[in-house]
Assembly symmetry: C2
Homo-oligomer: 311 residues x 2
């Protein structure tokens, strides 16, 4: 049997065919056509799946189902109230794909949650049944798996850990409108902003002053090369993140944290520091949890949505 995983992003839709044991048989991308409030996206996905099945000589009755990750909160593994990035209002994604493909087992999940499921299945979280995926990219995304299943929450806002308030004195607003969110300090954007502020506020010597377009990568590279100022910036990010993940642990008690997204390319340097601050701020029963790096990169979404079908 073949599981189909679809990850709908703002620029491209990734699609993959998988075996039930998580072997990727084939994967490809199509463009996300956002015009006319995104009305072509789901028909494009259905057409592309049906066409590729035909090309590969796979019959419809060999399909276990289609899982779909979307960038917005999902209710009942079926529909979304809104997907701002795609132009969608209220949309029953699962029903639409059922009608367009004739395949009945269709499930929908939020992209960050589905990525967590993917990392659990075949990535950095393999072997765990309870984990928290933290995606450090432009923002900070979160996906929580409890007993092997996505923790969705009552309106699909489960795992929105990027918006936990970590600084009650912040005066600048986050994209969400609130002030002092984790995302404002621990994302790629966040560490760059914090570093720029610190550079402007002091005369400290650092190789970062010579960098033209300051990026998270540049900061981590400088830290690895022994730049003390850059290292302190990484330390600050790790402290904020480690303390916040300690909060999260007292709520869901995961076996492991999996760190993904662009910032996670910093590697063990980052997980080692985060885990140090984490351990200093959890009760005994929660100490020494595993901190792993995500492995699937941009493919986490297609793995996870394919896995959704097997629940």
């Amino acid at each position: 049997m073949v599981c189909v995983g679809v990850d709908i992003g703002g620029t491209t839709v990734k699609i993959g065919f998988f075996t039930e044991t998580g072997e990727n048989l084939h994967k490809w991308e199509i463009v996300t056509r956002k015009e006319e409030r995104g009305r072509y996206i789901l028909p494009d996905v259905a057409d592309s799946i049906l066409e590729t099945l035909k090309q590969k000589g796979i019959e419809k009755d060999e399909i276990m189902g289609i899982g779909i990750g979307v960038p917005g909160p999902v209710v009942h593994e079926e529909s979304v109230f809104e997907c701002v990035n795609l132009g969608w209002g209220k949309t029953n994604v699962a029903e639409t794909i059922r009608e367009l493909t004739g395949i009945t087992n269709v499930k929908v999940g939020n992209d960050a949650n589905v990525a967590a499921l993917g990392e659990m299945w075949k990535g950095g979280g393999e072997g765990y049944n309870n984990l928290v995926l933290v995606t450090l990219g432009t923002g900070v995304g979160g996906g929580i798996i409890c007993d092997g299943r996505i923790l969705t929450g009552s309106v699909g806002a489960g795992g929105e850990i990027g918006h936990i308030t970590v600084n009650f004195d912040e005066t600048v607003a986050c994209n969400c409108g609130k002030k002092g969110c984790l995302e404002q300090y621990a994302s790629a954007t966040g560490i760059v902003n914090e570093t720029k502020k610190a550079l402007a506020a002091s005369n400290v010597e650092t190789t970062l002053r010579e960098v033209e377009n300051l990026s998270a990568k540049a900061i981590f590279d400088a830290a690895k090369s022994g730049d003390d100022f850059a290292s302190q910036m990484v330390e600050n990010l790790s402290e904020i993140l480690g303390k916040t993940l300690a909060h999260v642990a007292h709520v869901v008690d995961p076996e492991a944290f999996v760190i993904g997204g662009g910032v996670s390319k910093a590697g063990e340097m980052l997980t080692e520091r985060i885990s140090r601050y984490y351990n200093a701020n959890v009760m005994l029963a929660l100490k020494n949890r595993d901190f792993r790096l995500a492995k699937l990169g941009n493919d986490a979404g297609i793995y996870g949505s394919a896995r959704l079908i097997l629940e």
Copy 2:
């Protein structure tokens, strides 16, 4: 069919018979015999259940099952590694009760989690499927229900929100060994300690100076009578709790928070203030969740453990 709910506490064991729809048919208590590492507790429970069934003329095959709440972390709804308050080391509670009673459907849960299930079934959380119970007593306990089921976590530490660090500068240790836990400020003990500190640190006029054995109740009563200092103490507790529940909401996205324990007798005065600080610190999708008072008091445990059987 009859569901049996058992709540094993450090002083008494509460036991109740319930219908499948949650009507309490009969309830009683026995003493918790903690001598010899608590070896008599489970035999006493089994004897008391069997004897009461006989008295009431209920046949064993009319029993749906026995649910048991214990004061410690529970794994696989079966056993505990340790229950310090009862003197137990590693104990398979479910298996022991099965052997002693001949009733096969036996499930075990942590007392705080089981209380949350009870409040969901027949208490302040009735009608909700996703809720967080916060018990403000000597300590701060937590129980989380997601999609109608207890969130246990990987080692049974799910919902341990009383030990979320809320003050990273605290120098005094919590009972758990960590410093700055929610429990140090938002429990009955916590508000008394904080009030004593504030009284010692200032010359502010307050009726509380005349109170001999300062209690949480005295502080809330003074606040209700218009004592500004006492009211500020309640405000501080509400701020810490509201902000921490905001953290929790970004993790599990509950429909409602149910506030229980002795401190909750302060009533709407408390929930109104907590909810104000909560709303100021959550992202839009999480705003305006319901804050309810627990209703079952000390019976929450027997209701919840009986309900465990129906999962």
